[in-house]
C-alpha cells in the first residue's frame, strides 16, 4: 500500500507527511496531526461538525479523501482562535449561549465563518440556509442564529464591540439575564477534548463484533485466527469476564458481551484491540461465531402471548416490569359518567441522536486501578457494577466522565465500558473505542415505543370521573431503565388533573428489538401524549374549549396526586394562562374551523422555512444596481 507524500499548509504552517491513500482528510487532521477540534458526528456528510476550509472553501472533511487536499491551504477550527483570542464569531457564540454539549459547535462556527466571509451582510434567512448543512441536537438553532447576527453587526460596525461582552448583572440576580457559560470558550474553539479526541501513548484501537441475529444460541466462538494476526494485542469474549457478569439499572440482566445467547441485532459478541482500527476491523472478520438461530419476537403484544419465545429465564412471561396503580372505583366512575371515550394511542421508537457517538478510553494505571474515561451519564452506579463484574475491589475501579457530546439519557447505560475494562486488563495497554454513527444507532438504547388504551369517563360539565389506562411498552432485549420508565409513566399517567377514580397499568415487555432505555422525559412523553390528546378529543365531544376542560380538572395548590404525593404549589393554571395568551388561542371547542381561525398565520408565528434566501438577496441587489 504505497503511502501518499502529502503536502499542505495547515493553519498557516507547511506540513509534509505520509498519509494512507484511503484516508479521509478528517482522519488525517484528527489522528495524524492531533487537531481534534473538528469532530466526527456521522461520517456520512450529514452533520457538518467536521467542516473545514480547503483553499478557502468550506467542505465536509469526512467526505474528502486526503489526496484531494494535496497542495492546498487548510484551515481547521484551531485556526480561528490561534493565539487564544476568540474570533468575533466565537465571542458572539459565547455571548448568546450558543453552545450546550458543544459537539456540533466547531462545525457551526466554521459554517458561520464561511457564511459571513461569503456575505458579510447575510440576513437571518440566508444565515439559516448557509448553516443548513450542520445539525445541532441540543443547543437549539435560534441562539446560534442570534450569535451569527450579532457577529455580523459587530463586524459591520452597526453594533459596538461591547455588544459581545457579558450583560451586567447585579450581584446574585441571574434570572432572565444573559450569563456567560464558563465552558463555552473551550467549545467554540474546539479545545475541549471529548473521549474520542483523547489519546495516550501506546494506545490500542478497539472494534466490536456484533450479532447479525435477533435471537440465537451461540454454539461456539473461535478467535484463534484473530489472536494470531499481526498487530492484534487482545481479543475478548464473555469467557474473559472474571467476576459476576450482568449490568442494568434495576435488574442486572445484560452481560458485558453476549453469554451463550444473543438477544438483539447489534449485541456485542467479541471485541478486538489492535494497533490501528483497520487491523482491529480485519481481525473481527476472522472471528468465527457459530450461531443457532432461535424464534424471535418483535412485538410486545405477541411477546405476552402464551408460547411466545422467552428472552430471559427469570421472566417466563417476558414482563420486565408491571406498575399497577388503583385509586377509587373506576367502574363505578364510568357508570356515573355522562360520556365515556376510549381511544388507542401509540408512540414510536426514537433514537437520541446525540451528535457525539459513544467513545471511551480505558487503561490500568500504575496502582492497578482500572480506569474508564467515557461520556457516561451514571459513573458511580457503573463503577459499582463494574467492580463486581471484573472481580475487583471498588478502590481498584475508577470512572472519569468525559464531556458528554449530548446524552439525553442515551448514555446512562454501561453498554461498552465493560469491554474497554476487560481489554485494558488483558493487554495492559490503554485502549480506545469510538463508535461509528451506525454502531451507535444499532446497539444503544432507544425511547420505549408504546401502545396505550385510554378510557375516560366525564360529566357533561367537563369534570373527569374515571381514568383507565393500559400502556404496553416495548422494552427490547434487556431491562436497562425500563422499570423506572414504567414507574414514571404510571405516576404521570393521569396528568396534573384531579381524577377521583384511576386505574393505571404500565408494562415494559422484553422483545428481541434494540433495548429501550432512558430518554429525556423518561416515560412521561408516552402517557402525556395519550392523556393530553384524549382531553382534546373529549373537549371536542363535549363542545368545550380545550383550555377550559383542563382548567376545570386542574390540580391546584395543595392537591393530592393519584400516587398520594401532596403538591404544595401547582403551576398548571398559570402555565395554561401563559400558553393561551402567547398562542393567541381562538376560544372554542377544537372542532375544525379551518381557515376561519384567528390564531393561524399570524405575523408573530414563524413561517415554514424555505430555501432560496440567497437568490432573493441577489435579486434584490441586482434590482438596486
Amino acid at each position: 500500500m504505497p503511502d501518499l507524500q502529502f503536502k499542505a499548509t495547515i493553519n498557516g504552517r507547511k506540513i509534509s507527511r505520509n498519509a494512507k491513500p484511503h484516508q479521509r482528510l478528517l482522519d488525517f487532521i484528527r489522528d495524524d496531526l492531533n487537531l481534534t477540534g473538528n469532530k466526527e458526528g456521522c461520517g456520512a456528510g450529514e452533520c457538518g461538525t467536521c467542516s473545514v476550509f480547503v483553499d478557502g472553501t468550506l467542505v465536509k472533511s469526512c467526505l474528502l479523501p486526503v489526496a484531494k487536499a494535496q497542495g492546498t491551504t487548510i484551515e481547521t477550527i484551531e485556526a480561528l482562535a490561534k493565539t487564544g483570542e476568540l474570533s468575533v464569531l466565537q465571542k458572539a457564540f459565547h455571548k448568546t449561549g450558543a453552545s450546550q454539549c458543544g459537539y456540533c459547535i466547531p462545525g457551526m462556527v466554521m459554517a458561520a465563518t464561511a457564511a459571513l466571509r461569503t456575505n458579510p451582510f447575510a440576513d437571518r434567512e440566508e444565515i439559516k440556509e448557509r448553516l443548513g448543512g450542520n445539525i445541532c441536537r441540543c443547543t437549539g438553532y435560534q441562539k446560534i442564529f442570534d450569535a451569527v447576527e450579532l457577529a455580523r453587526d459587530v463586524q459591520n460596525g452597526t453594533l459596538p464591540a461591547a455588544a459581545l461582552l457579558e450583560d451586567e448583572t447585579e450581584a446574585g440576580d441571574f434570572i432572565g439575564k444573559n450569563v456567560h457559560r464558563i465552558d463555552t470558550p473551550s467549545k467554540v474553539s474546539g479545545r475541549l477534548k471529548y473521549a474520542g479526541d483523547m489519546t495516550m501513548p501506546g494506545m490500542l484501537h478497539v472494534q466490536v463484533l456484533r450479532s447479525p441475529h435477533a435471537h440465537a444460541r451461540i454454539v461456539s466462538i473461535d478467535t484463534s485466527a484473530a489472536e494470531a494476526m499481526e498487530g492484534v494485542a487482545g481479543v475478548i469474549t464473555n469467557a474473559d469476564v472474571p467476576g459476576e457478569d450482568g449490568f442494568g439499572v434495576f435488574v442486572n440482566d445484560q452481560p458485558i458481551m453476549a453469554r451463550s445467547t444473543v438477544r438483539y441485532v447489534g449485541e456485542a459478541v467479541a471485541a478486538v484491540a489492535a494497533e490501528d482500527p483497520l487491523i482491529a476491523k480485519r481481525a473481527l472478520s476472522s472471528i468465527n461465531v457459530v450461531y443457532e438461530p432461535m424464534p424471535a419476537v418483535f412485538d410486545p403484544d405477541e411477546a405476552l402471548r402464551a408460547g411466545a419465545p422467552v428472552l430471559h429465564d427469570y421472566a417466563p412471561d417476558n414482563v420486565t416490569k408491571h406498575i399497577p396503580i388503583r385509586v377509587g372505583d373506576v367502574d363505578k366512575g364510568f357508570a356515573e359518567s355522562d360520556l365515556v371515550v376510549e381511544e388507542t394511542y401509540s408512540t414510536q421508537q426514537i433514537e437520541h441522536a446525540y451528535l457525539e457517538p459513544e467513545a471511551g478510553l480505558a487503561y490500568v494505571d500504575h496502582d492497578g486501578v482500572v480506569t474508564i474515561v467515557s461520556p457516561d451519564q451514571n459513573i458511580t452506579h457503573h463503577r459499582h457494577m463494574l467492580a463486581r463484574i471484573i472481580a475487583k475491589p471498588i478502590s481498584k475501579v475508577r470512572f472519569i466522565m468525559s464531556p458528554v457530546g449530548g446524552g439525553f439519557g442515551g448514555k446512562e447505560d454501561m453498554i461498552y465500558q465493560g469491554m474497554l475494562a476487560l481489554l485494558a486488563m488483558k493487554t495492559q495497554r490503554p485502549v480506545r473505542l469510538v463508535f461509528t454513527r451506525e454502531e451507535s444507532i444499532i446497539s444503544t438504547a432507544k425511547r420505549h415505543p408504546s401502545r396505550t388504551v385510554l378510557r375516560m369517563g366525564l360529566m357533561r360539565d367537563g369534570r373527569i370521573r374515571s381514568l383507565q389506562m393500559k400502556m404496553i411498552c416495548d422494552g427490547g432485549a434487556y431491562g436497562l431503565s425500563t422499570e423506572g420508565v414504567m414507574r414514571k409513566a404510571a405516576i404521570l399517567a393521569a396528568g396534573p388533573y384531579v381524577i377521583p377514580n384511576v386505574r393505571v397499568d404500565t408494562l415494559g415487555i422484553y422483545t428481541n428489538n434494540t433495548p429501550s432505555g432512558a430518554f429525556r422525559s423518561f416515560g412521561a412523553l408516552q402517557t402525556a401524549f395519550a392523556t393530553e390528546s384524549h382531553l382534546d378529543i373529549c373537549a371536542e365531544r363535549l363542545g368545550l374549549d380545550p383550555f377550559l376542560i383542563r382548567r376545570i380538572n386542574a390540580m391546584r395548590d395543595g392537591a393530592m396526586t393519584h400516587t398520594k404525593a401532596k403538591l404544595g404549589s401547582v403551576s398548571l393554571t398559570r402555565t395554561l394562562d401563559a400558553l393561551e395568551k402567547a398562542s393567541g388561542w381562538d376560544t372554542g371547542a377544537p372542532t375544525s374551523r379551518g381557515a376561519t381561525r384567528s390564531d393561524l398565520n399570524r405575523p408573530d408565528i414563524r413561517p415554514p422555512c424555505a430555501l432560496g434566501a440567497r437568490l432573493a438577496a441577489a435579486e434584490k441587489q441586482e434590482a438596486a444596481e
Binding site: A111, G132, G133, K281, E438, C609, R614
Partner: protein, 306 residues
C-alpha cells in the same frame, strides 16, 4: 469504510486512460466523492476495498465550461456550486440556481459534481431533470487501439434505470452539452424529509418562455424525477401548453396530466398529490420568472402554491 491501495489523480485525459487500462477491473472513478464515501459504510455497501481510486477532477477537459448563445458545455467535474456563483451559467440555465440551492448544503455543493450526479443515476438525482429539460447530451470517451473514441448520447437515453447508465467499461464522462435558454423563466420544486441536504421524494424542473406580451406560452420544458426508476421529460404536457394562454385553468389541466406517471416503489399516493402541486407551482413560478403579466395568474392560485 472505504479502503484502497492507491489513489491516482491523473492530470490529463491521456494519463487517465492509461490508468484505466493499467487497472482494468480494479478501479473506481472518483469525482466529488460525496456519494462514494457514504456508500462504503455499514448498512449500504459496508466495508469496501477498491484497489485503485482514480480521481478525475484535475483533468482539463472535464473542468472546462463554455457558455454560448445556443448551447452550454459543462465539464463533468463542474461543482454544483458553480450554478450559484457563475452569472453566465445562471442566466443560460434558469432552473439551475434553485436546483443548486436544493441540491445539498453549502459544503457538499462545493464538492459534488454534475458528472457524478449523472453517472450515479439515482432516480432522485436533482440535476439530471434540469439538464434533461435543456436537451442535454452526455459526452463520452474511451481509448481503443491507441485512439480516443468519443461519442454522444442524449441524457435521457444515457440514464436507463436506478444506478444504471449506458457507460461502457473503460469509458469516461467528459461533460454535458445542453441548450442555453436565457430568455426562459425557470423553477425547481423539490420535497424531501428536511429542507437542507435531503434526497428528493419528488422534484420537478420547469422552464417557460412567454410571447412578447407575456400572456401566451411560446415554449415550455418540464422534467420530473423521484417518482419512478428514472427522470422523465413531460413532452405531451409541453405540447398541450405550448402556444396556449397562461391561465389558471390551463395550468390546472396540465397539472393533472403527469399524475398517472408516478411509478415509485413507495408512497405513490403522496407522490401523486405532490406532482399535481409541483406542476402548478412550477408553472406559476417559471411563468412569473419569465415575466408573465401580473393579471394572467389568478392571485388565489398563486397564493396557494407560492
Amino acid at each position: 469504510m472505504l479502503t484502497c491501495d492507491e489513489y491516482i489523480t491523473p492530470a490529463s485525459l491521456d494519463e487517465a486512460f492509461d490508468a484505466l487500462a493499467a487497472h482494468r477491473g480494479r478501479y473506481r472513478i472518483v469525482a466529488g466523492a460525496t456519494d462514494t464515501l457514504p456508500w462504503a459504510r455499514e448498512g449500504r455497501a459496508g466495508d469496501v476495498h477498491i484497489p485503485v481510486l482514480i480521481d478525475v477532477t484535475k483533468i482539463r477537459e472535464l473542468r472546462d465550461i463554455s457558455v454560448g448563445d445556443k448551447r452550454v458545455r459543462l465539464g463533468a467535474v463542474t461543482p454544483i456550486q458553480r450554478f450559484l456563483d457563475d452569472k453566465n451559467l445562471a442566466r443560460s440555465l434558469p432552473a439551475m440556481p434553485r436546483c443548486a440551492v436544493w441540491f445539498a448544503d453549502d459544503q457538499i455543493r462545493a464538492q459534488a459534481t454534475i458528472g457524478g450526479n449523472i453517472v450515479n443515476a439515482s432516480p432522485a438525482a436533482d440535476a439530471t431533470p434540469c439538464l434533461i429539460a435543456h436537451e442535454a447530451e452526455v459526452e463520452l470517451a474511451k481509448k481503443a487501439g491507441g485512439q480516443i473514441a468519443r461519442r454522444r448520447l442524449k441524457l435521457d437515453q444515457f440514464v436507463i434505470g436506478p444506478n444504471r447508465t449506458m457507460l461502457e467499461d473503460g469509458e469516461l464522462v467528459l461533460g454535458v452539452e445542453c441548450d442555453a435558454l436565457p430568455n426562459y423563466g425557470g423553477s425547481f420544486e423539490k420535497v424531501g424529509h428536511r429542507r437542507s441536504l435531503v434526497i428528493s421524494l419528488a422534484c420537478l424542473a420547469t422552464l417557460v418562455k412567454l410571447d412578447a406580451e407575456g400572456r401566451r406560452i411560446a415554449d415550455v420544458r418540464l422534467s420530473l424525477a423521484g417518482v419512478g426508476p428514472k427522470p422523465l421529460r413531460l413532452k405531451s404536457v409541453e405540447d398541450f401548453l405550448r402556444g396556449g394562454p397562461v391561465t389558471a385553468e390551463r395550468f390546472d389541466q396540465a397539472a393533472e396530466m403527469p399524475v398517472s406517471l408516478v411509478d415509485s416503489r413507495t408512497r405513490q399516493e403522496y407522490r401523486r398529490e405532490v406532482v399535481r402541486g409541483f406542476m402548478l407551482r412550477g408553472l406559476i413560478n417559471a411563468a412569473r420568472a419569465a415575466g408573465a403579466q401580473p393579471d394572467v395568474l389568478a392571485p388565489e392560485l398563486e397564493a396557494a402554491y407560492a
